[in-house]
Amino acid sequence: MGESGSGKTVTARSILGLLPDTAETSGAIWLEGTNVVGLSAGRMRSVRGRQASMVFQEPSAALNPVFPIWWQFAEGLRAHNPKLKRKELRRRIVEALKQVGIPDAEKRLDDYPHEFSGGQKQRIIIAMALAMGAELIIADEPTTALDVTVQAEILQLLRDIRDTHGTSIILITHNMGVVADLADSVLVMYRGEVVERDWVRELFANPRHPYTRQLLAAVPRIGVKSASRDLGPEHLAELESREPVVVAEGLEVTYPGRLGSPPFRAVRGVDFTIHAGEVLGLVGESGSGKTTIGRAMAGLEAVTGGSLRVLGHEMRGFKERAFKPLRRQIGFVFQDPSTSFDPQLTIGECIEEPMVVHARDLSATERRDRVAKILEAVELPREYSRRFPHELSGGQRQRVSFARALVLEPTLLIADEPTSALDVSVQATVLELFTELQHRFGFASLFISHDLAVVDMLAHRVGVLFQGRLVELGTGSQVMSNPDDDYTQRLLASLPVPDPVEQAKRREFLRLAAGGS
């Protein structure tokens, strides 16, 4: 467990000698009594796959797109036993595929990777490790690229494999929930060093190292800092009575199909209202249409059906010219802080841009003053205005993002997964900042995230999107603690909580629920 740059991936890779040639390794790694550090290429090859096998972060990238999957299995098996017959090969592959729960394994053997879903691809890679009889599986962020519900299944699969085959698993992850769910013992890494090692229950209950403590404290948990917990009915009534900033009625966004293929309906009839000063959280897995809604509100995506009124302006059939004056009332924060700034401009110039466009009457000194003020508001030193984006860290850049979005004090802020590219500890500070800014400026906000816990911390009301439909909409605590919709329930149940005891209970519940239906 560790944040980015802690050296966890490098450590795991060195077990199989998979580091770039420029890296130097010293010390020893004992794998079943053999020191694999400095092993000759040939010896290392016989270790790879047979003694230890690796599962990668991105299942779609880890499979060769132009070969059928049986071939990719066979390559690994033949590498260690060239005499294997085709029949025997296929038998073993089918067996492994069945073990990981791929239906119709006999038929799907000849399929290509693109014909499987992301979760299935990860199962196939795990099946490869099984087929080769690996006694150790090194899983490098095996669920990071997957949706929460799929993640729960993959974790379950890994647990089953451990139980039935007695396979050891090294699980590398930044996600405390995943650790709590699967691990027996935990090793916390920080800047290339192991800072703490303990049994999982002990570690979560009594973290000893300050870094571990800080890390655990930073993890957002549902219901712990819920923004809507203390909202009484009178608060809600007051919120509802305020002027609506955004009104969506039967909102649809459709992307045209290409070359005669059918169009893709990203958003299929969504209704919601955001009142002045209200934070609406939008949650959903990838492809649920949450980002599309945010982009449509900023005029970056065309509304194709229903109605979407932003600040009283109808976005369906929208004309840039008519909408432009309203743009100063809208701020937008993008997901990836590394790409949301023009690399050629200084931070100051980036923040100034909205003023240059909308507040032409401001003099250069006034503009600079406001940049300094807003930088202060996002807790950055004013000297930063002379720096370039690439000189800042991800968290700092995201603060600048907020500064740019808020410099004209807009009435609406659209935040599209502003923290999902950040480390947990950085995320915590940015979320805190968001709450503070929201209190201070009182803007209405659409906060988009895939992480229920994050949304719970910030949003007054939460909407859950599933395949372009809004399946649930209510106050944060209501949605989190008492969901009506099936999908929301599953989503909540799939989210691993960073507490091994609690997580074990939830797992049991999820299994019962799954078995029951």
């Binding site: 130097e24 937008f332 990836d336 690399p343 466009v357 999902s420």
Partner: protein
């Protein structure tokens, strides 16, 4: 991760110039190739500049002090590289030829640069039917052998062959027309990629006027590959000029010295074993093209992190190479455009990415839309005449 490996802003400007910056971050063989290229290119430019001082005779001189040079004389003290079938001094023609080559490169590349970049920006940013038509024309012209197009154009412009200025212009214009699609394609693709980048979208959300977005944000970031195409086109310009000359559609020998023409005249010489009339102009072409190509190739490799030679040893190991990757995979839905693209390999990918699609399309299917297919990568595109 868009983050161009732009040299740190705090470096003085001259260290941030394309070739200089590339030299500074090169290593090993790549550095050797780049230096060799810079030397050869420098040689070409210097010789062109000082041609009157270096050349013993003029390019069309057949007599000196009343003495005729004589045709097809082997190398001697008077004519270090011998004389041609028409009785010109080979050395002088080789030296004067650099001027023609450099003039054509400058005219052709600069003209195509301006037109191609402008069209690419506008076409890529606005899209629509204009874009489609321009792309189709550019694709058609691009796929067509440039030498044949240059032949057609030189017929149009000069009716075959002509004086120095018209000849150079004819060669330059025909090369320009051939090159415009290349700049157009690259800049258009880059524009389309940048258009989907959050920083351009954020300018849009702010409400910045189109001109500001296009020239302020997109243009500045789209041009960083231009030096590379520039060098590759320059080498192709020399080859096209020589090719035109070789098939007899170049510049009159009395109007200016041109290597392709000299090689054309030497075809018969070679059969009778006269080697000096062919070898030296040919070598001049090879050295010029090689120099410019080496510069371009090294720049291409340096811009492509996959092709860059990794410095071995401690320094490199200390750099947290994995860090970026860890960071990128943090988010499950981080398929954001450009997130997985390191700067240089965009050259390869950019042409096949459609901006509106990439958000949702997990597989890249270049063939789905012929308009977005990038069959070509700069540097492999040139038919070499």
């Amino acid at each position: 991760m868009t983050a161009t490996p732009i040299a740190d802003r705090r470096d003085p400007w001259y260290l941030r110039l394309p070739v200089v910056a590339d030299l500074r971050r090169s290593a090993g063989l790549q550095r050797g190739m780049l230096i060799a290229g810079v030397i050869m290119t420098g040689l070409l430019l210097l010789v062109a500049l000082f041609a009157p001082l270096l050349a013993p005779y003029s390019w069309a001189q057949t007599t000196a002090d009343g003495v005729t040079f004589g045709a097809q004389q082997p190398p001697s003290a008077a004519h270090l590289l011998g004389t041609t079938v028409s009785g010109f001094d080979v050395l002088s023609r080789v030296i004067w030829g650099t001027r023609t080559a450099v003039a054509v490169i400058c005219l052709a590349v600069v003209a195509s640069l301006f037109i191609g970049v402008l069209l690419g920006l506008v076409s890529g940013y606005f899209g629509g039917w204009l874009d489609r038509i321009l792309v189709m024309i550019a694709d058609a012209v691009y796929a067509f052998p440039s030498l044949l197009l240059a032949i057609v154009l030189s017929i149009v412009i000069s009716g075959g062959r002509s004086g120095a200025l018209v000849g150079i212009l004819a060669a330059a214009i025909s090369i320009t027309v051939v090159f415009i699609p290349q700049y157009f394609r690259v800049i258009r693709a880059e524009t389309i990629r940048l258009k989907a980048e959050p920083f351009v979208e954020s300018a849009k959300v702010i409400g910045a006027p189109v001109s500001r977005i296009l020239f302020g944000h997109v243009f500045k970031n789209a041009t960083r590959t231009l030096p590379l195409i520039f060098t590759l086109n320059a080498s192709e310009a020399i080859l096209t000029l020589a090719g035109l000359g070789f098939i007899g559609f170049g510049i009159e020998p009395t109007a200016a010295a041109e290597w392709g023409y000299d090689l054309n005249r030497s075809v018969a010489d070679v059969t009778s074993g006269i080697w000096w009339t062919a070898l030296f102009p040919g070598l001049a072409i090879v050295i010029s093209v090689l120099g410019v190509t080496l510069v371009g190739e090294s720049m291409n490799d340096l811009n492509d992190p996959r092709l860059r030679i990794r410095r071995r040893g401690r320094k490199a190991a200390a750099r947290p190479r994995r860090r970026r990757d860890d960071f990128r995979h943090r988010c499950p839905r981080n398929g954001s455009p450009g997130a997985d693209r390191a700067p240089g390999c965009e050259l390869r990918h950019r042409l096949r990415r459609c901006p509106r699609r990439q958000r949702r399309e997990p597989l890249r299917r270049p063939w789905r839309d012929p308009r977005d297919r990038g069959r070509i990568r700069v540097g492999q595109d040139s038919h070499r005449a």
